[in-house]
Symmetry: D2
Subunit: 282 residues, 4 copies
């Protein structure tokens, strides 16, 4: 059942929803789903920012009419065709857990996406990509970052990539790559942010004696570990878990949190706000 | 910030949302929030049932215009004024846990409700009601059910009760009372339904060796334990929990599940479907 | 760091722990960990059944002395060498999720086990086994059960299998195979048992309108869906999940619950009680 | 069923468990439960610290013999009689949620404790204490800290308090009081530590756009928010929660986390390690 998905945002105005839904209805398209959220600065309804998501049936001319209407009112929007799968470049280093979790979920058809290529600074996980017939690119690190990222951008452009997923890709991206794929790079961080920012979070968690450990999936921005959070989860531990056990259980929670975040993104359910946060219409 | 809340349902039609949102906007009322869900029988968009919830600012004549409009289109609806607190009669027997949890949350102003009276077949919890200045009615059981429920209905009618909450009220209601307050009675059941229906669920759970125990809050219908489920939750246990421990931990999960369900109901977030289920717009 | 693991059970007696720990200590072996649990029938300490797990360093003669001592006192026990990995035959039909989750966790060294062979009534998942160099046996169903299970037992005996894991193997085993591998077959059931026993649990869950769905991993006994539960978990859903969505989310919870149950078993942390339950020393 | 509870710790030695369990058994006392945990510095078994908890039946002379034996071997220990309820002074400011949760659980007999007095810098919650017949002391703040804490210590000494619980007592204690009741003061912190240390954690959580909020119960030390963590939990939120909603949901998680931590402590299940962490034998 093909449909369109609209993500829109604007200053809260009197009749935006009536306006949009009328355009859609007037073109004989049925609205399947609406999400609607207004974020208010200070418990006042005057200064809200409105975020919208519509799913509606394909119908003749509805797309063009809607685009014209949104343009006229100055509403920021993105409009997607649900038949078009999102093209993902999957980045990985040596650890396979988050990589395989996402690869297999996509392969099973669990989200509207396809893995068009795998990029890695190691060859460790090549056989997994090969086994599923997915092109694998070994882009070694330890070289000039500019050369490395030039190669990466060439690969991503060749495959017309919509989304880069860093599934335990243990390299810091430069501003150039982050800017080229703004709001199109998702990372998994091995802690419940903002706890334990930086390296060795499981060791820090063990030393602090926390009773839960977690993982955070976020969009990559130029500020390391500070991008908008898409999804987080935690898992209960106890004193019997040593650092090695925390790393093991961390792999499980990292895998599921990243896959969930990517699923939300590929279903066009995520909007990034001005305030460096996400609206996730799930 | 006073507002109206509309709950509506109808067969899925082409422009219901546009129709409703236009009426609201045309009366200079701002839409603060929309929830929109269509349930399809069989993955087809032809036969859907549409459920809607709108929050919108109070404005002159918007209520009357909307009621006329909904009536004209044959849309089933309820329209609430957020300034009007829901009046709850809280029923309890000897155990105080679910009773106190709800009483205290309401007292703190955590939901738009007030406990207008407490009804009990015991006097055990009278002092809690007295301490907060809430009228307490001792309606002993062990008498003819018809007499008992006549007294109950008189009390509820005196206080113009909108909702009866059975917070571990260990008496089975007759069809008469259930019918009088149709979709207005919420119960807490001490298991993760449909597991362990009937008496002694914690003993049964212990005997089966389950690794999680739960609680279920549901609307009361004439079929015991079969009413529409509003909220459920579970808590992890292990082999060290004996039946007494399960009852203790069960009290905690019962308390929070019931309070959450009542909160949803008082915020007008729950719609009961034709299929004996609930839509909870949370 | 190689060590021994002892699982023992007996009627609760005055000095069993002192007796066992003395034998171990007297042979210069350090006790690394003790788990100790007494299950009482009726809150009385008279009729308890004692369950024990010891981890202790390898030391000369400690194994032989302990075996003699346990034998003398009539204590039921199993004694394992932590250096010996458990040999698993992994059974699967068409769905790959639980299969791949376990395969990859074992491959990463997350539990003391190896997958020695894969058995399937379909060839769908052969390439995953091939890619990791694991022998794959296609044992078609639709034939006489006795012939099928004779082939299965031959394969399992050839590989000296310690544990059979049914990772969505959609065939009912006969009493013959269940008896041959008593307490050595682990299954994943696609519901939070005892809810929704039997076929189509996700459809039943959707129809009942539950707010959480779950999965249960249990030992296989001759009574279908009634074996001792090792692990269960649930995941929150809402009205927006249709039956297809429930199946998708069900795959995730099935995968992690089965893998966790198998991990406990391979670490010799599970004891099955007389009462058809499990003690999991986790 | 009265029993003794032993908490002990020492450098890991060859036969400590055999030694202790033999003393107990030799006095005809049955061991009901053992918890045993060795924490190793660096995955080596050489330098471990051993933590033990025994529950055993009362029997003539067993207490004296055990104390003598532990003393002789230089083992640090505490020995409790399960019949002696722990005496709690409950501290609260204006917010009643964590206070009432603990008060009611203790009143129901859910843990081996009694609230012997309530101390508050406000009179807001006096009526709750009065209603249950518990002495209430109004100790106003805004005065010299030394005077305030002198009054507090006098009250606690009068009631021979074993444990001070800060149930949203919004005053910082001085070193004097913390030292006087070392390892005997439990606090609830309104965030998932170490996230959002300091003031206004719910506002900070909202600004960072986290997807879960939590609470942490810990022993109070002289370093604010840095004491050993006893219990933590989190609850899922979404973009629809504003700061006020986070405070509301925060109250629920604070209440249950504090009550659980106090329950563990009163059951003598918690040992504080050298490394500023806790072992919780639950």
């Amino acid at each position: 059942m093909d449909k369109y998905i609209l993500l829109a945002q604007c200053k809260d105005q009197l009749n935006v929803t009536a306006y949009i839904s009328s355009i859609i209805s007037n073109h004989q398209s049925n609205i399947l789903h609406i999400d609607h959220f207004t974020e208010y600065e200070k418990d006042s309804s005057d200064e809200g920012e409105l975020y919208l998501r519509f799913e509606f049936d394909k119908a003749p001319d509805v797309k063009e009419a809607l685009e014209a209407g949104l343009h006229e009112r100055g509403i920021t929007y993105r409009l997607y065709d649900s038949a078009e799968k999102m093209k993902i470049a999957l980045f990985v280093s040596k650890e396979d857990h988050a990589f395989n979790e996402l690869l297999l979920r996509v392969e099973r058809g669990e989200m509207p996406a396809e893995i068009v290529c795998v990029v890695s600074n190691h060859e460790t996980n090549k056989h997994f990509a090969d086994n599923l017939g997915i092109p694998f690119y070994h882009v070694p690190s330890g070289r000039d970052k500019d050369i490395v990222e030039t190669e990466i951008i060439e690969i991503c452009e060749k495959y017309e990539v919509d989304l880069i997923v860093l599934a335990k890709y243990m390299q810091i991206l430069t501003s150039r790559l982050v800017t080229r794929y703004k709001n199109q790079i998702i990372n998994i961080h091995h802690s419940f942010l903002p706890s334990f920012i930086g390296a060795n979070p499981y060791k820090k968690a063990w030393e602090r004696g926390v009773k839960l450990v977690g993982a955070t999936s976020h969009y990559v921005t130029e500020d390391l570990d500070e991008g908008p959070i898409i999804e987080q989860d935690v898992i209960r531990i106890n004193h019997r878990y040593n650092v090695k056990d925390l790393r093991k259980i961390g792999r499980h929670i990292e895998s599921t949190v990243l896959a969930q975040a990517v699923e939300y993104h590929t279903e066009h359910k995520v909007i990034i706000t001005e305030g460096n946060k996400t609206i996730v219409f799930n």
